[in-house]
């Protein structure tokens, strides 16, 4: 494995972390934390069977938080020289002179530090060169465009691969570091002439070996795009709605965000103080695991060096816990759950019903495959978004639908989940099958 940050650089960064923490303490800081990241990567974009852009990614940055008692200051920079790092420390200290005492501020508890953090399988550098990536993309686009004459244009194919090195250290003598990788490929096509339609397909993985075969990507993208041709609006109605596996993870992520510590202590959540409450039907269980090999949201420790662990977030419909970092945990008087930096891999339980079976069960209603806009109010749960998808009658897809909205309140929508399908979306950090909801308001119109 050839790592994009070598041993020598790692020791340089570790020494830098130590020096900065030492220096901050010398200047009177009671606590300090340091984080650093280095990313390298390649993005190629091919369109109309030729390369359009070739981008070399090369970014780095470091950040420092200092605490003077209960006051804090933060500064960061992309300049990795020692001189710049010390200037950044000065800036953080300067800011801490002006912020106010905050009872809950400070590093995470010493007893929670992941000194013995595990080594996870998250780093699989692809090592693909630009020429190979370009050829792959060209072949994928060629195959996609050749499937049907109705494919009239293309937004092209992207191939991208990134490697990151992350280091976190603090004045509890914690220092952790790890490498991650991520590769992806997507294909976006256009069908039709007068009324063009666009759709896309993508594949993403920590290990490029797990990416879909470009041929499968091409076929799927073509199929999805062609299926959009002839889309029309429908009259307003109240019908069952099936969220396809592409949009189902987003629907449940809204709940996870509402359960985050920030939204809880700010009281800006529609799931306020909901631990112990039945937010979902009893057949819904959501399990969280930070240690999944090659997991898109796996991490050996959180962004504050805190030990992470697997747990049940929703058990038989009942909320089991929030997503807390040290600050929100202190605010709420609850234990830190190791979620500084976000949630980990989430797995939603599902029925044995396939997607086709869910269409049959729905019988007549709307299948939603794409959502638009940000019409979700996390304070109230009110939900109203632009949508496109397909009209379903007698359990079968009839025609593509666009220019409609779907609306409801997330609390009601969650209670009205009838089934979760077995067609689990594995390209998301929250893995769920498609979700059938009993009834939602659909707004649309019929053109003359």
């Amino acid at each position: 494995m050839s790592e994009h940050v070598n041993r020598q650089q790692i020791s340089y960064y570790e020494q830098m972390a130590e020096d900065l923490i030492h220096k901050a303490k010398e200047q009177g800081a009671s606590q300090v934390e340091f984080s650093l990241s280095v990313q390298k990567g390649l993005d190629v974009h091919v369109r109309k069977f030729d390369v359009e852009t070739l981008e070399y990614v090369n970014s780095q940055g470091l950040g420092l938080t200092v605490y003077y008692g209960k006051r804090k200051g933060y500064a960061n920079t992309s300049d990795m020289t020692k001189e710049a790092a010390f200037q950044t420390l000065e800036k953080a200290c300067h800011i801490a002179k002006y912020t106010q005492e905050d009872d809950c501020s400070g590093l995470a508890e010493l007893s929670l530090m992941a000194y013995d953090y595990p080594s996870l399988e998250l780093y699989y550098p692809w090592g693909v060169d630009a020429e190979t990536a370009i050829q792959m993309a060209i072949e994928c686009e060629r195959e996609a465009m050749a499937t049907d004459k109705r494919l009239t244009n293309s937004e092209g194919v992207n191939v991208s691969t990134h490697e990151s090195f992350l280091l976190y250290a603090n004045s509890h003598s914690f220092l952790g570091r790890y490498f991650t990788s991520s590769s992806s490929m997507n294909c976006c096509l256009i069908a039709g002439k007068e009324h063009m339609q666009r759709s896309y397909e993508y594949t993403v993985a920590v290990d490029a070996k797990d990416l879909w075969d470009p041929s499968r990507l091409a076929q799927q993208a073509a199929k999805k795009t062609l299926a959009r041709l002839g889309a029309r609006s429908i009259p307003s109605c109240q019908v069952p709605v099936l969220f396809s596996k592409e949009v189902a993870p987003g629907l449940l992520k809204q709940a996870m965000v509402a359960l985050s510590g920030g939204h809880q202590y700010r009281r800006s959540s529609f799931l306020l103080e909901s631990v112990g409450q039945s937010v979902f039907p009893s057949f819904v269980t959501i399990y969280e695991d930070p240690f999944v090999p090659k997991g898109l949201a796996s991490t050996p420790f959180d962004a504050e060096g805190v030990r992470v662990k697997a747990r049940c977030v929703v058990d038989k419909g009942v909320i089991q816990g929030y997503f807390l970092n040290s600050y929100s945990a202190r605010k709420l008087g609850l234990p830190d759950t190791g979620h500084a930096g976000g949630m980990h891999n989430l797995f939603v339980s599902h029925s044995d019903k396939t997607f086709e079976e869910l269409l049959k069960i729905m019988d007549r209603g709307l299948l939603v495959t794409e959502l638009m806009g940000q019409g979700v109010n996390l304070v109230t749960g009110d939900y109203s978004r632009g949508a496109s998808g397909f009209w379903v009658e007698h359990g079968e897809i009839q025609y593509p639908v666009e220019e409609i909205t779907i609306a409801g309140n997330l609390k009601d929508m969650y209670q009205q989940i009838l089934y979760i399908g077995s067609d689990v979306e594995t390209r998301s950090s929250l893995q769920t099958g498609s979700i059938l909801i009993e009834r939602m308001s659909v707004a649309g119109h019929v053109k003359n």
């Binding site: 090369n58 800011i95 106010q100 700010r266 220019e403 909205t405």
Partner: protein, 480 residues
């Protein structure tokens, strides 16, 4: 060389010990025989922000980001590399990576046109030192105090003050030599109100290219706090929004996000060169009612979306997009203008040195018409009056766009009757402006908080419009 270029040279390049002739040499090497254009974009961005929550200023942030992006263009192909390590050897490495795009093509060197006008739309000074830290904190505290005094139902006040100071220096192989110093400040307040009916939120913010002293203007902080609280309290009373196709009267100012989503993105040069926009091949055609004239104008002094030069060193301008309903122009950057045989319009923008430029909007707005707001509302039998919006999104190929109202009222029999819950509005870009039947006199621009995202890149923009009436838009409520 203008004094601005000289001073940026002194601030940005001199400390690195890099000379213009060394950069010229890198450009020459990138050009070789096969690349027809190359440029170097140096950028240094400083950013600070202060956050108040629960009555105290809890955190402050300072960041410094600098680097250089190197681009080589060969026909329709672009090679791009960047580095935040500003040693000459790293620049040379990045130059080799960027020029590797040109392996097979051979096109003559491009000679661009360089308008010499120097715009001066905002102060060149660093905004951070315009106020002492104590004064910045005082602004946030005033917001908090005022908001809490207005109504006991105010439970949370989150206020945020931020400033950016950006320095750019650009050299292109066609002789482009340009620099800019860009301040940008912003103040936001969000409140959560709570009563027996439930909880709601309200928001107000503003800013522009200038310094923090704009927030000291008599009563401004009070005005922001009052507006956020007012909005939250209105929403506490809101009833479910209607669902279906109906006439919509859009308020002036920020609701101009309609134009940004419905037509703005669809008129960006890249999509039209590729023929992927619902507006492709439609120049000269009617795309709006005769009441509509829409411009994109990067030359408004002090506005959030304004720039002296775009990120390719080209002066911004006022571009008429739609004139009396007829599509007149697209917005262009260097690459797309050249490939389409059109003129650059000063819309080549990039999030940072680590991103490629592309055609982006600046300040996009509709010119005023002749109606009064009251006339428009009175003309509606049953419909929606929407005055405040969150974000929006568009599918430029199908033309479908959405934007989400977060303050709206029901119009019944020509009168505003009651507030309704937030709802998403959806329409079709090439059609929606055809249904604009009345345009008001009251043109207003937004307060200066807009950020536009495209292909993962965010840039500050402005929008604006007079109050206008659209005869039919789909309102995504729950009430049938």
């Amino acid at each position: 060389m203008s004094s601005l270029i000289q001073s940026v040279h002194r601030l940005l390049l001199d400390p690195l010990g890099i000379t213009q002739s060394q950069l010229q040499k890198i450009l020459d090497q990138m050009l070789g025989r096969q690349v027809d254009y190359a440029d170097l974009y140096f950028q240094s961005v400083r950013h600070e922000s202060w956050v108040l929550e629960e009555g105290i200023v809890k955190s402050g942030t300072f960041s410094l980001d600098k680097g250089v992006g190197l681009r080589a263009i060969a026909g329709e192909k672009t090679g791009f590399a960047y580095t935040d390590d500003l040693q000459l050897t790293r620049l040379e490495e990045a130059a080799r990576a960027a020029r590797s795009i040109a392996k097979t093509t051979g096109v003559p060197i491009l000679h661009g046109t360089h308008p010499s006008k120097q715009l001066n739309l905002y102060p060149a000074q660093d905004p951070f030192s315009s106020l002492h830290e104590d004064e910045k904190i005082e602004i946030l505290k005033t917001l908090d105090t005022v908001a809490r005094q207005i109504d006991p139902r105010v439970q949370q006040v989150m206020a945020h003050l931020s400033g950016v100071y950006e320095m750019i220096f650009l050299m292109g192989s066609d002789g482009t030599l340009s620099a800019d110093l860009r301040p940008l400040v912003r103040l936001d307040v969000q409140v959560i109100v709570e009563s027996k009916q439930g909880r709601e939120q309200g928001y107000m913010g503003g800013g522009g290219r200038g310094d923090y002293s704009m927030f000291l203007k008599e009563g401004l902080a009070t005005q922001y706090a009052e507006e956020a609280v007012r909005q939250a309290l209105v929403n506490l009373e809101a009833v479910p929004a209607p669902a279906g196709n109906m006439p919509v009267v859009l308020g002036n100012g920020w609701p101009g996000i309609l134009l940004h989503e419905a037509i703005g993105h669809g008129l960006e040069g890249d999509f039209n060169r590729k023929g992927t926009s619902a507006f492709s091949h439609r120049l000269g055609q009617r795309v709006a009612s005769p009441a509509c004239t829409v411009v994109d104008d990067g030359t408004l002094p002090g506005r959030r979306g304004s720039l002296n030069v775009d990120d390719e060193g080209y002066p911004t301008q006022k571009t008429v997009l739609i004139e009396n309903g007829i599509l007149k122009n697209y917005m262009q950057d260097k690459l797309n203008a050249r490939l389409m045989g059109m003129s650059q319009t000063g819309n080549g923008r990039r999030e940072s040195y680590a991103h490629l430029p592309m055609p982006r909007m600046t300040n996009t707005y509709m010119l005023p018409g002749s109606y009064e707001k009251e006339e428009m509302i009175a003309s509606v039998e049953r419909g929606l009056y929407a005055v405040n919006f969150g974000g929006g999104q568009v599918d430029i190929t199908s033309g479908k766009f959405v934007f989400s109202a977060n303050e709206a009222y029901l119009i019944e029999k020509g009168k505003i009757t009651k507030p309704v819950k937030g709802a998403t509005l959806i329409g079709n870009g090439p059609e929606v402006l055809m249904h604009v039947s009345m345009v008001g006199r009251d043109l207003a621009l937004d307060a200066g908080v807009g950020t536009c995202g495209k292909e993962g890149q965010s840039v500050p923009v402005g929008v604006g419009q007079p109050t206008l009436k659209v005869d039919g838009l789909i309102v995504g409520g729950t009430e049938h």
